[in-house]
């Protein structure tokens, strides 16, 4: 119990003193996970909406693959991304293993199926007649898709939250492809693992609290946006 209180006090001090190392770690977490989420949104919403609005042979197989991808274990992603990015691996020429960029790639791979799956469900559950109505009013196909995406926005915000929440809290892939390098690729989760190993439980607890605060603040803002518009 003392340890938890010590940790909370430590977290408070690290926050108010703007400890440069902790600040750097926190900003890198936001940057890596934010960028990965952005990438996953672009890919996920496009693919999700396309699959939701089209019918093709083998569609149910594709949908179940996407849904399985939502449960993709981060360590599995980490392993395959690491092997691909090895110097002597297939993508070794990029030379990005053990960089924040590699972490963005891995996290985007984790977040994309999550965003895709939720977007797919969101667009699909819109009333089918809505599509006919929009087209009947003279919209082009592209305009129709855009309107449908806007109609599904409440669910899509949930997709952003799930995607971001999935990657900001993930440690397995980040530590494998980023290497937890001090001042370079160390993020909140990997630093927490390391400080636990070092027996610095107060720092580890402090980092966890910062991570929770961060996740809370971001979700708070997104929830505000989401709840401002009541479902009709």
């Amino acid at each position: 119990m003392d340890l938890i209180i010590e940790g909370i006090i430590k977290a408070f001090w690290l926050l108010v003193s703007f400890d440069p190392e902790v600040l750097g770690i926190t900003l890198l977490s936001i940057k890596v996970s934010g960028t990965a989420t952005l990438i996953s949104l672009v890919i996920g919403i496009s693919v999700g909406a396309s699959v939701a609005l089209t019918r093709f042979p083998g569609r149910s197989i594709v949908v179940s693959l996407i849904n399985t991808g939502m449960a993709l274990p981060p360590v599995v992603v980490g392993l395959f991304v690491t092997i691909s990015l090895w110097r002597n691996g297939p993508l070794g020429f990029l030379g990005i293993l053990y960089t924040p960029l590699a972490m963005i790639v891995a996290q985007a791979v984790i977040a994309t199926p999550i965003v895709t799956g939720i977007s797919l469900a969101a667009v699909q559950q819109l009333p089918a007649k809505l599509r006919l109505q929009i087209l009947a009013l003279g919209a082009t196909r592209r305009q129709m898709v855009w309107i449908l995406i806007k109609e599904a926005k409440l669910s899509l915000l949930a997709a952003i939250m799930a995607g971001f929440g999935g990657v900001i809290s993930e440690v397995g892939a980040s530590i494998m492809v980023g290497g937890n390098i001090k001042g370079y690729s160390r993020v909140l989760t990997t630093a927490t693992v390391m400080e636990t190993g070092r027996g610095n439980f107060d720092v580890a607890i402090a980092l966890s609290i910062i991570l929770l605060l961060l996740a809370y603040l971001i979700n708070l803002v997104l929830t505000q946006v989401q709840q401002r518009e009541r479902p009709r």
């Binding site: 940057k31 949104l41 090895w86 293993l97 053990y98 190993g197 946006v225």
Partner: protein, 284 residues
Amino acid sequence: MKRFWITSLLFIGVIALVAGGSSQAQAQNKSVILATTTSTQDSGLLDILIPIFEKDTGYFVKTIAVGSGQAMAMGQKGEADVLLVHSPAAEKKFMEEGFGVERRLVMHNDFVIAGPAEDPARIKGLKSATEALKKIAAARALFLSRGDNSGTHAKEKAVWKAAGVQSEGQKWYQETGLGMGQTLNVAGEKKGYTLTDRGTYLALAKTLKLDILVEGDAVLLNIYHVMEVNPQKWPKVNIEAAKAFADFMVSAKAQDVIKTFGVDKFGSPLFFPDAGKTVENLGK
């Protein structure tokens, strides 16, 4: 309506950018991948040595802290430039197979057997590590092994072998598969014995409920070597940087840091600098 949608996207974009800060990938020939053991990172030694090296040479060190076994596997695949490890038998094999360029002695400390104060197997104060393990086995007392092919795990297996005990597969013998710090925490919580390097033990001692029970046996020496990965096997290895790092580790500057590291915090040094010595003369 549209504004709402744009603001939410912008928001994500802004938080990604606010973090800003350019952590551009360093030029490849200026960065060097150091594969090392968790003990050098968890003790905090590298946090002091690496900034000095980076400042002196301009290289950027990417430290990947894994077990010695994994570090050498990375070297064998050409995925690391230089290794700082403590698994002598495996290192010799690594050199014989031509994966390394040079293997130089850097420092040593020692392994100790830590366990609960109650000491159910009554090993406290024994002079022989093999004797202690035999007693633990006879008492069927819980023993926590790293189980991760690290240097510590290799040493532990060697001592079990010397004790003539088949420990693997026994109920009282559990493998954590974790780093040294975490394994010590597990041992502390479960009141088990474990073999640990002294540095990590001291770094964690304040929160651990474990005592040092056996120490000082010559077989418990923990010796660290630095090895550059052979660029003839793997052309992408940054041999200039690797050599610069290895030279630095045995330089007077680094050896001085090693000599005093930990004294202010623990009252005694965590590592003893050994550059230029031979393994046979250690601990004498």
